[in-house]
């Protein structure tokens, strides 16, 4: 693969982010990213999207109160 276009890069962005591309393809992608600010921005926001999804879930768990007492009681009751 001598060069890639935006459509090719974005189509395989998940593999790029997961570092699943072979070395030659990755280098080609890296070269495209050097010359294409739009794809650089897309890549950054794609990674930020994943981070936001995880971050929001983490924050929700941090802020979560204990399970509702009625649920705890219901579960214990089912067992009895």
């Amino acid at each position: 693969m001598s060069h890639v276009t935006c459509i090719e890069l974005i189509s395989f962005l998940d593999a790029y982010v997961a570092e699943e591309l072979d070395a030659e393809t990755r280098t080609t992608f890296d070269l495209h990213l050097i010359v294409c600010p739009s794809c650089r921005a897309y890549l950054a926001s794609y990674e930020e999207t994943i981070d936001l999804v995880r971050g929001v879930a983490e924050k929700e768990e941090e802020l979560a109160h204990d399970a509702p007492p009625e649920l705890i009681e219901a579960v214990k009751h089912v067992k009895r």
């Binding site: 276009t5 935006c6 459509i7 090719e8 974005i10 962005l13 998940d14 600010p37 739009s38 794809c39 650089r40 921005a41 897309y42 950054a44 926001s45 794609y46 990674e47 930020e48 999207t49 994943i50 981070d51 936001l52 999804v53 995880r54 971050g55 929001v56 879930a57 983490e58 924050k59 929700e60 768990e61 979560a64 109160h65 204990d66 399970a67 509702p68 649920l71 705890i72 219901a74 579960v75 214990k76 089912v78 067992k79 009895r80």
Partner: protein
């Protein structure tokens, strides 16, 4: 990127802690108090998991109840080299997915309109621009977190669930593909499309920051 570490994720399984071994032995012996301890320790995080998958409070609570009943019934199968939290997480995910399967199948829109569009020469039709604020700053504000959550919930269900199971619960691809009864290739495509669609939904807010 943020370091994500969930006690309830399917990350490499660590051995049961010494205090867990004792609890497991008591559970196997039918100790009522041990079951109550299990519920007290695990109900809240499991409810968080089932809420994320089902987005329905009543169903999420039912799934947690069912998970505990299933766990108690199959405690004999629990392998002591595993972590109780990991094992319970797997059971809760299964119970939540069972509920999803029996929900009335709704026709869902695809996400095509939320994917990037390209010109004939392969360039993006609309140039992407960087987002204004860091992820860490966005996560500090409740309003912004609510917006991200709202955007996730706007994804068609089959895409939302893939995103939740892979990017939040961090279940391995093989496990998710099996649970959702789709091929691994299909899962890969779906996850990429879900992330792209969510990126598009977030983009107008994140460009100017929320």
């Amino acid at each position: 990127m943020l370091e994500t570490r969930y006690a309830y994720s399917m990350q490499p399984v660590a051995a049961a802690r010494p205090d867990e071994r004792g609890l497991v032995e008591r559970l196997r012996a039918g100790d009522e108090r041990a079951f109550e301890e299990l519920v007290d320790h695990h109900a809240a995080p499991l409810l968080a998991v089932t809420r994320r998958i089902l987005r329905d409070e009543e169903e999420a609570r039912d799934a947690v109840q069912e998970a505990f009943v299933a766990a108690f019934r199959s405690i004999g199968d629990f392998q002591i080299e595993s972590r109780l939290s990991t094992w319970m997480h797997r059971i809760a995910v299964n119970c939540a997915l069972m509920k999803l399967r029996v929900r009335e199948r709704r026709r869902e829109k695809d996400v095509d309109e939320l994917l990037p569009h390209f010109q004939a020469d392969g360039h993006q039709q609309q140039s992407s621009v960087g987002w204004k604020e860091s992820v860490e700053d966005v996560l500090q504000r409740e309003q912004s977190r609510a917006l991200v959550r709202e955007c996730i919930d706007r994804l068609p269900e089959s895409y939302r669930v893939v995103l939740v199971l892979r990017d939040i619960e961090q279940l391995p691809p093989d496990v998710v593909a099996e649970k959702l009864q789709i091929t691994r290739d299909n899962l890969k495509v779906k996850l990429h499309r879900a992330r792209q669609a969510l990126r598009t939904l977030l983009d107008p807010h994140m460009r100017g920051a929320t």
